[in-house]
């Protein structure tokens, strides 16, 4: 029964989809795991059919028919060494097969040699958002990861070093790779080698506190042209707009507590507790994917972060309406 129920999950969609099914892989570790899982499903499905078949047969064949005259007990059988041996040895053989297959894949994925030209990203988990740093490119961003597409013949895997700034988190984008935990004092490594461009959804998979559910992840797999354009934009310092409202907004940002936690490169704001906002407008969501990055949402988020994400670490700064308009206008310029 269970195995038929798994079938609808087998939506063999190509490329990214809004349902992040582990059975719709679009990147190398995920697709290897997918084929291994089909092999295991076949074996366990076979065991299920045999044993559940016997159980069903026994239930119908050997039920007490309730013949009133028949008071005899059935023949008492106490056991059989040969049969016990059979159903010990056969499972052991199955275990040997499964173990060898599994061990091979563990070593293939976990100990994969890292190519010299692989993209490096440092991921830092925070309550309740993601920090992404590209050490070779000098880029810092948050919540929306961009990685290059890995073309056939020219593999370009991305290696992710995983750290945590506070508690345990877990990096999970089902269509790209299995999850790996971000644990303080315990750096981890994982990698992806995506074969299809697009947006892949995921989220934190280790309970990390009150807003664990809204620690969402978006990974853009970019074609070479898209990735180059994105990198070029991210490498710029923040846009310096001199219109009066924006200047006023920037003053609010730098005199209220905002800059204690946020960095905007090219300005005096160098806080590291919250996401880097240098290119905030290049991201399509705010609050770690909780809501779309629109002007209305952004203003509401600054006014009262608990409205979208109760328990978020960002405090409501009690800004006046005018201050809110100004700081929103400022942030809206950070393309």
């Amino acid at each position: 029964m269970l195995f038929f129920l798994l079938l609808p999950a087998l939506a063999f969609a190509d490329g990214p989809q809004s349902m992040p099914s582990i059975f719709a892989p679009a990147s190398t570790p995920a697709s290897d795991i997918f084929s291994l899982s089909l092999f295991v499903l076949a074996i366990t499905g076979g065991i299920f059919l045999v044993v559940a078949g016997i159980l069903t047969y026994v239930i119908f064949r050997f039920r007490d028919k309730g013949d009133a005259g028949d008071k005899h007990e059935p023949a008492q059988v106490f056991g059989s060494t040969q049969i016990e041996m059979a159903w010990t040895v056969i499972p052991v053989l199955i275990v040997v097969v499964l173990f060898l297959t599994t061990a091979r894949m563990i070593f293939a994925i976990q100990d994969a040699p890292k190519p010299a030209d692989a993209m490096d990203v440092t991921v830092v988990g925070h309550q309740f958002w993601w920090e992404f740093r590209y050490p070779k490119l000098g880029i810092v961003t948050a919540n929306e990861l961009h990685v290059p597409l890995s073309a056939k013949g020219h593999p370009e895997p991305t290696y992710l070093k995983l750290y945590s700034a506070d508690v345990d988190h877990s990096f999970w984008v089902p269509q790209l790779a299995g999850k790996t935990d971000l644990i303080p004092n315990h750096p981890n490594l994982t990698w992806v080698e995506p074969q299809q461009p697009g947006l892949y959804l995921g989220q934190c998979a280790q309970f990390c506190g009150i807003e664990h559910a809204k620690m969402l992840l978006r990974v853009y797999v970019d074609t070479p042209a898209q990735f180059a354009a994105w990198v070029k934009n991210q490498e710029q310092p923040a846009v310096d707009d001199q219109s009066p409202e924006v200047v006023a907004g920037r003053r609010v940002f730098e005199t209220e507590a905002c800059m204690n936690c946020h960095t905007i490169r090219g300005t005096v704001a160098t806080g590291r507790f919250g996401p880097d906002l240098t290119h905030l407008m290049s991201r399509s969501t705010i609050a770690s994917g909780a809501v779309p990055n629109t002007e209305v949402n952004l203003r509401e988020w600054i006014k009262d972060p608990d409205h979208f994400k109760p328990g978020s670490q960002m405090p409501a700064m009690q800004l006046t309406n005018q201050q809110l308009d100004e700081v929103t206008a400022y942030l809206e310029t950070l393309k």
């Binding site: 795991i33 899982s37 295991v40 026994v58 007490d64 008492q76 056991g79 299995g178 999850k179 935990d181």
Partner: protein, 563 residues
Amino acid sequence: MADRTIPIEGTLDLTPPPVDQQTWLETVHEWVTTVDHKKLGLLYMMLSIFFLLVGGVEALAIRIQLAVPNNHFLAPDTYNRLFTMHGTTMVFLVGMPFLFGFTNYIVPLQIGARDMAFPRLNAFSFWMTLFGGLMLYYSFLGGSGLYGVGNAPDVGWWAYAPLTARAFSPGNATDYWALSLIVTGVGTLGGAINTIATVICMRCKGMTLMRMPLFAWLMLVVSGLLLITITPLTAAQIMLSIDRYLGGHFFDTQAGGSAVVWMHFFWIFGHPEVYVLVFPAFGIASEVIPVFSRKAIFGYPAMVAASVGIGFISLGVWAHHMFTVGMTSVSNAFFVLSTMLVGVPTGIKLFNWLATMWGGKIRFKVPMLFCTAFLFQFLIAGLTGIMLSIAPWDWQLHNSYFVVAHFHYMLVGAIVFNIFSGIYYWYPKATGRMMSETLGKWHFWLFLIGFHMTFDLMHVVGVDGMPRSIYTYEADRGWAHLNMIISIGGFIQAIAVLIFAYNLFWSYYRGREAGSDPWDAWTLEWSTSSPPPVYNFAVPPEVKSRRPLWDIKHPEDPDWKYE
């Protein structure tokens, strides 16, 4: 069945008990001060059933919240508290007390003893468990001081460091959690020591270990496991309390402590704990299946060996809960192998139960219905366990709803089903009345339907990428329809449990008189009256085989000729 002489002549003192009109205060006093294993067994059972209802209500609140995306039925912090309390309650205040309830009531009767080895320790263990539970629930009032309700612990029942550090969990909620588990742990250790001493020392004449009922065998193995595994849990709770109040740094990552060490401590308790919880279910199956199939258990020595084998192997598999924390590939491979190996003795047990049914005349009374469903669900839970043991696949499935589905298949589909089976089976012994078969069948079928609606579909949403422990989810993920059905299934199970609770009361007053041996069974507990007298057996019984009552009922073909 030719010549039944149950109760066995001479085992009972047939002088009618004095008619005593107790006031309710005297009754309460008698129950509070009792050291009788049967009364304590019933107290444990009542404790479990009470907390089963409490934990069930928590589960229903969780399911209402998750029925639709972006729901606001529960606030995020409330949701986190409820799933923490649900898990802690079901493991420590439902599963373990059920274990000791059955052990207390049944094991001394099965081995022909008059009580447990240490009756006062027995009472002490029960009250420690109860007080631990009350302390845990008092955290709703006192967790962060008396500022309002809703202050229960919110760190998950696994309570991973460093989320439990004072920096991330201020207030006292986490302390209530740690301390109450230490307290219930003391009760559990007392119960385990008592069970071991009872089984080793108190068996009646002729009952060698290899003639002991499998239920008693399994409880012996469970108690051994508990002695080993409660210790690291208690140690971890003490270390956590030292971290929180005495400036320790065991798990304080900001001062160089290790979050991973907590996981090791927790899971070296936590995984054998799963077997601790499932062994009573195995024990019940090993009693119910032979009696209702009308056959001796198939492969008794293999069953004993498999039980002990599972006990040993289960101590070496804990890190399969940690495939995603970044262990080396060799460690991962080791725990893959050890985890898969548990499947071998587990398979042996399943096959032996099937072989017991094979060729029998199976009577599908309510206990056997639950047991049959247990076999089916236990098979599936075992197979999804094999899937989770495949470390690379586990990197995908870990902490997803697939895992939630898997362990609920084990905890509900296997354990709770067989707890129901055991209650329907032994209720006549404890009360002298049969439980209603009609209500029992309603209970069974509704619970079965609800169970499969809920937990089958959880596998699917897990594969669809839904992680556990989230208080809400986005509408565009495509998880909404399945979650709605899952929640409806939860309510169907709740209705079934209410029918069961009603049946417990109804049958106590209106149930058919049971007599001493209503199921025509073979173990010693059925040789005495229902309910048994305080002293159980007026004359200590003497056995010659594994099925002493079979020998009496079939003098022409006794078991001891073959064993």
